[in-house]
């Protein structure tokens, strides 16, 4: 949570108050002594002047601390715009401004309290100058520590913001990578269905196609979907793929009905299935068997490995899925390639 400027100014004021009390503890003790021992209700002249002097001290130190603190904390940024002046000049300016304020405050106190100073003549101004030396010495570093603290928090927040924005952008671009290949291939299948199949089949095809596309478009809005939804979609998608590839592959879904309400990123299974059809030799003489299984917290997507030799493999499908997992939940997918079997394990998100 980022605190507003007002919060820091309150801290400065409060610290100024505490410090001025602390520096004048003597007076407080003196006062409490007076009160506990006194029976008469008025002070002597000596006591009175001590009291007035102490109160002056408290007020002036509080005022000095607050002003110096506030100036170094934020006011100086308003006066000296950092990007318009060279950094070294800026430091000098701030230094002089501090000195100027200190002298001004000393002068002010000298003018107001001059009847109180212990020295004589104009030299009294030096007394006021040194009197609050400790306060300056504390106020300036204090203001800088506060500034650093604030800046640190702001950078942290900005970094976080940047990170989430980057992640969002990444996610969107990843989702948009769903290839137009699929769309055109499906249209080709559709024309084959129109040419060869019965009227009912064509309608079924269009229906599945519209369901698949609705799901793909919707997936842009969700980072996660239930496994159930994804599987319903995957069935339609598989149906469409069968129209294109015939029975050159088969999908055996062994997912436990218990985990259907858990989540995965949308299109995760689709990406894996697309990956299989892209990288394996799908032949009717030797169909590729795909099976989907699960454990408590992983889905295993396995297929017979019949690698096409000359497919330019960018590996973008799997690496994108992995990126999405990392962005969504910080988990990673696992790829296990054996001689005759390819297996991708994807985490189930609960």
């Amino acid at each position: 949570m980022i605190k507003s400027n007002r919060y820091y100014i309150l801290i400065i004021l409060f610290s100024g108050f505490l410090l001025s009390i602390l520096l004048n503890l003597k007076l407080i003790w003196y006062l409490s002594d007076l009160w506990s021992n006194k029976t008469i209700s008025y002070f002597s002249i000596e006591e009175n002047s001590k009291l007035v002097y102490g109160i002056q001290q408290i007020f002036s130190q509080f005022f000095v601390f607050s002003l110096i603190g506030y100036f170094n904390f934020s006011l100086k940024d308003k006066i000296f715009k950092q990007n318009t002046i060279k950094p070294i000049l800026n430091v000098l300016f701030v230094l002089f401004a501090n000195l100027f304020i200190i002298i001004l405050l000393a002068l002010l106190q000298f003018v107001i309290f001059k009847f109180e100073y212990p020295g004589k003549g104009v030299l009294g101004i030096f007394y006021y100058f040194w009197k609050d030396f400790l306060v300056y010495l504390i106020a300036i570093p204090f203001a800088y520590i506060l500034r650093m603290n604030k800046n640190l928090k702001e950078t942290k927040r900005d970094n976080q913001k940047l990170k989430t924005e980057k992640a969002k952008a990444e996610l969107i671009s990843l989702k948009e990578q769903l290839s137009p290949h699929f769309f055109f291939n499906t249209l080709n299948s559709l024309s084959a269905v129109i040419r060869t199949a019965e009227k009912g089949d064509t309608l079924e095809f269009v229906e599945k196609l519209s369901q698949v596309y609705r799901y793909i478009l919707d997936s842009g809005n969700n980072n996660l979907v239930s496994i159930k939804e994804e599987i319903v979609f995957l069935n339609d998608y598989t149906w469409l793929l069968h129209k294109r590839f015939g029975n050159n592959f088969s999908v055996d879904n062994k997912i436990d009905s218990k985990i259907l309400d858990n989540k995965i990123p949308p299109l995760a299974l689709q990406v894996l299935l697309e990956n299989v059809t892209k990288h394996n030799k799908l032949l009717s003489s030797n169909p590729v068997k795909i099976s989907i299984e699960n454990t408590e917290d992983l889905i295993y997507f396995k297929n017979d490995l019949r690698k096409k030799e000359n497919v330019a493999s960018h590996g973008s499908g799997l690496s994108n899925l992995n990126k999405r997992y990392r962005v969504i939940c910080g988990k990673e997918i696992e790829i296990i390639e054996k001689n005759d079997e390819f297996c991708v394990k994807i985490p189930i998100i609960k």
Partner: protein, 86 residues
Amino acid sequence: MNVILVEDELSARQNMLAIFEELDININVMVCLESIEEAVKWIESNPKPELGFFDIQLADGVSFEIFTFHMCAKKLYIGIKQYSIL
């Protein structure tokens, strides 16, 4: 005309066959082949077709590989159009 068709995707195959039927020419599709392996085997052991239609990207490779086995084609027309719909 004796024709062979080399295409690994079912729907594209169906499309081609349907188009052949629609065309009012006497086209005799001798065989539909799915892969380079099948095509090479078939071409080795059968009379040569007059015309062949080859999908470029097949399951087990690029169909030009077939011609490295058999330099039998007189002319090669290559049509490339991404996302064309039959």
